[in-house]
Amino acid sequence: MITILDLYQFNHLVGLGFLDLSTTIFVVGCCGILVVRKNLITLLMSLELLLLAVNLNFVIFSLYLDDMVGQLFALMILTVAAGESAIGLAIIVNHYRTSGEVSVETLKNLKG
């Protein structure tokens, strides 16, 4: 069991190493959106990865700066991520009903 003082010092010494992880997740999400572009569901999943990385950054800096509000904002971003995925999946289902596929490349037919 780690004590609170250990936790505090740990966060100040090692905590920023977690930024590597969040940066990696963010870059993977960016690659999923910008480079791979397979289908809309993969795109939405990489959007979730981006929000997860941002959330992790908020929590890490909340611990590093000893400020509680970061965790509050992480909670709000969690809400936004949940709502965004629900609405995005609803739009995907609707788009699949009308057009019959969920590819990103055929999305340009929406231009009309």
Binding site: I2, I4, L7, N11, L16, F18, L19, L21, T23, F26, V27, G29, C30, C31, G32, L34, V35, V36, R37, N39, I41, T42, M45, S46, E48, L49, L52, L56, V59, I60, S62, L63, L65, D66, D67, M68, Q71, L72, A74, L75, M76, L78, T79, V80, A81, A82, G83, E84, S85, A86, I87, L89, A90, I92, V93, N94, Y96, R97, V102, E105
Partner: protein
């Protein structure tokens, strides 16, 4: 792995793996409440939602062709922007820069007395930060209503019950007496 696997179901399983890892890291860092909420919301809600949609829609396996690399010069630029920003930020912090914090809510001093969830709850329902709660509740309400409105389509090719029509129907009008003469 999440973005490179061909089958979307495997991709979702790797996404769940990432979420579990992050939740474990948060619990390890001493942010137990947020870690548990990550576990519940991300895996219990979002990943299951993705799984449902993937099973509802049959997706053709799209092979990765050379056409995807057509967008690489433009997208590579956008890809480099957050990467360089984060790296610059990282080195800036590692160089020992001082941060002036105007107002801050102490975390390490509070957690020695109360738990993490208790501290977060006190902060969440204080007068200063309670608009955040109301705002997130509003976001969830709008998301729920929006998702229902988007997916609810009335089908006209199905015969369905009309309860009002059933109740208002009078047996005197519906049945008629015939006298059939026997030979």
């Amino acid at each position: 792995m999440v973005i490179n696997v061909k089958n979307p179901v495997y991709s979702i399983i790797f996404l769940i793996l990432v979420f579990i890892n992050i939740a474990g890291l948060l619990i390890y860092l001493g942010v137990e409440f947020l870690g548990m909420v990550f576990l519940v919301v991300y895996i219990g809600a979002i990943a299951v939602l993705f799984l449902f949609v993937v099973m509802m829609i049959n997706i053709r396996y799209v092979e990765l062709t050379s056409k995807e690399l057509y967008y690489l010069p433009i997208n590579g630029f956008f890809l480099m922007v957050p990467l360089s920003l984060e790296l610059g930020f990282y080195f800036y912090f590692n160089s020992g820069a001082d941060l002036d914090i105007v107002t801050y809510q102490g975390y390490a001093s509070g957690i020695s007395v109360l738990g993490n969830a208790h501290l977060l709850g006190i902060l969440l329902y204080s007068a200063k930060y309670s608009p955040i709660v109301i705002f997130s509740a509003l976001i969830l309400l709008v998301a729920m209503v929006g998702a229902i409105v988007l997916t609810l389509t009335k089908r006209f090719d199905v015969r369905r019950q009309d309860p009002f029509d059933q109740i208002i129907r009078d047996y005197k009008k519906a049945t008629q007496m015939y006298t059939i003469e026997s030979k």
